[in-house]
């Protein structure tokens, strides 16, 4: 029987919530207790029930763990699954993002710290550095964000395997049109208010997350600024008007309905709490022209925060929404954000949430 699984990566391990109806949930875990799980991905391509996790032990370092049975058992390659080549004189710090490729059932992309992109052609068993981005002349000028310097967002283009987008803090958006061989910064219109006398630089923006809508439109949540691109990332227009705040970490695009997007606003970069202490999502149904609050079932008097990968959609109909907080709660909505219930509490701070229907 098909079930919905929510993978919850935290500062101290991975939990999995399972449900057959998205109303009643069972919580399983932890896996990798005391290891940080900053990235997680479901791979349901070609009938698989795989889950991948970027796991970091504070003693034994970072690795990629793979489950072929929907998260019940896990294994890792005896050889380093993901490592920098010796000529780079660089060591992997953390796997920030794992993204199965929509165009090739065996390809998985990984965004890592320090700023780099890796590609696997064996479903995540082993990865190879994408030299085109690593050798980019801008790389020495990419700065770490508050959480570190990493490629944290990978957006392949369905149907066009040679085209993809990555985003990093703080470097901005880069695009490739030749399957990663070469990369161009792609930030026109994104404001970097923190750079004196040059608020619209070629690169250096602090992009927090980019999501692709079903119609190809792109949406970006920035370190102050929410944007839409109608030309594949070549240019960006602000869609922050109508939001309670333009600060936040995550953004989500509906997988089937054009123009439906959610973000999770944060009061300010100096006050990383929900606006007015009401944990909430903001939803647009018209590609960012208007926004409305969705907070039914989410706590008020809340001083928590939702990080860049701690919110996700499932592939159900209607779409399910899952939001994890830094104080260890996970909220789920089975009605596209109209109401939420708490499906986990008292976990460590939630770093990554992903959801999928499996089976």
């Amino acid at each position: 029987m098909a079930e919905t699984i929510v993978a919850i990566g935290t500062r101290k391990g991975l939990w999995l919530a399972r449900s057959s109806d998205r109303q009643e949930w069972s919580l399983e875990g932890p896996h990798f207790l005391m290891s940080e799980v900053a990235s997680v991905a479901f791979d349901t391509r070609a009938g698989r029930q795989a889950v991948l996790a970027g796991v970091k032990s504070w003693h034994w370092g970072p690795t990629v763990q793979v489950s072929e049975d929907a998260g019940r058992t896990w294994s890792e390659s005896a050889e380093r699954a993901l490592a920098f080549p010796s000529d780079t004189d660089t060591a992997l710090e953390r796997v920030w993002q794992l993204t199965p490729d929509p165009n090739d059932d065996d390809v998985v992309w990984a965004g890592v710290e320090p700023h780099a992109l890796f590609r696997s052609t064996d479903r995540g068993e082993s990865f190879e550095l994408v030299r085109g981005l690593w050798n980019h002349p801008h790389r020495p000028q990419w700065e770490p964000g508050f959480g570190g310097g990493a490629v944290h967002t990978i957006v392949p283009e369905p149907g066009v395997p040679e085209r993809m987008l990555v985003a990093m803090s703080a470097g901005g958006v880069y695009r490739s049109a030749d399957a990663g061989e070469t990369w161009e910064p792609s930030n026109p219109g994104i404001r970097a208010y923190f750079i004196p006398d040059n608020e619209y630089p070629e690169f250096g923006q602090c992009v927090h997350k980019v999501a692709r809508g079903v119609d190809g439109e792109l949406y970006a949540q920035n370190h102050k600024g929410v944007y839409r691109s109608e030309d594949g990332g070549a240019s960006w227009q602000s869609i922050a008007e109508g939001l309670p705040t333009d600060f936040g970490f995550t953004i989500l695009a509906h997988p089937r309905t054009p123009g439906v997007v959610w973000n999770v606003p944060v009061q300010d970069d100096g006050e990383r709490i929900p606006p007015g202490t009401q944990l909430q999502l903001q939803r647009t149904d018209d590609a960012g022209r208007t926004w409305r609050q969705q907070a039914n079932g989410l706590p008020n008097h809340s001083y928590t925060c939702v990080l860049r990968d701690a919110a996700a959609l499932d592939d159900g109909d209607p779409v399910g929404i899952y939001v994890g907080t830094r104080n260890g709660d996970v909220f789920a909505s089975a009605d596209e954000g109209e109401s939420f219930t708490r499906i986990a509490t008292q976990l460590p701070d939630v770093l990554a949430v992903r959801a999928a229907q499996v089976g």
Binding site: S57, H59, W60, G61, R80, S86, A91, L92
Partner: protein, 97 residues
Amino acid sequence: MTTTTRVILPGLLRDLVGGIGELEVPADHGGQTVGQLLDAAFREHRILDGKVRDERGLLRPHVKVFVNGEDVSRAEGLATTVPPGARVHIINAVSGG
């Protein structure tokens, strides 16, 4: 009798190698240093190498190696000489508060 060097694993790593607590490395493994000893010890247990050292070959920041009770970070690190028959402990450092 061939002298062996005993490499004692911390409990947290033993599950990765079927519960083995010690690795015995023959004295004639071809090296004299801690780094060369670890190369030999991990030859049959590749997963341990990625846990103890990063891909540059450096000890991870919160891993300690002791040779006959001496912390090699206070000697010559991975270049520290390992005497024949030594007891080498790999330790997960007591880090944090």
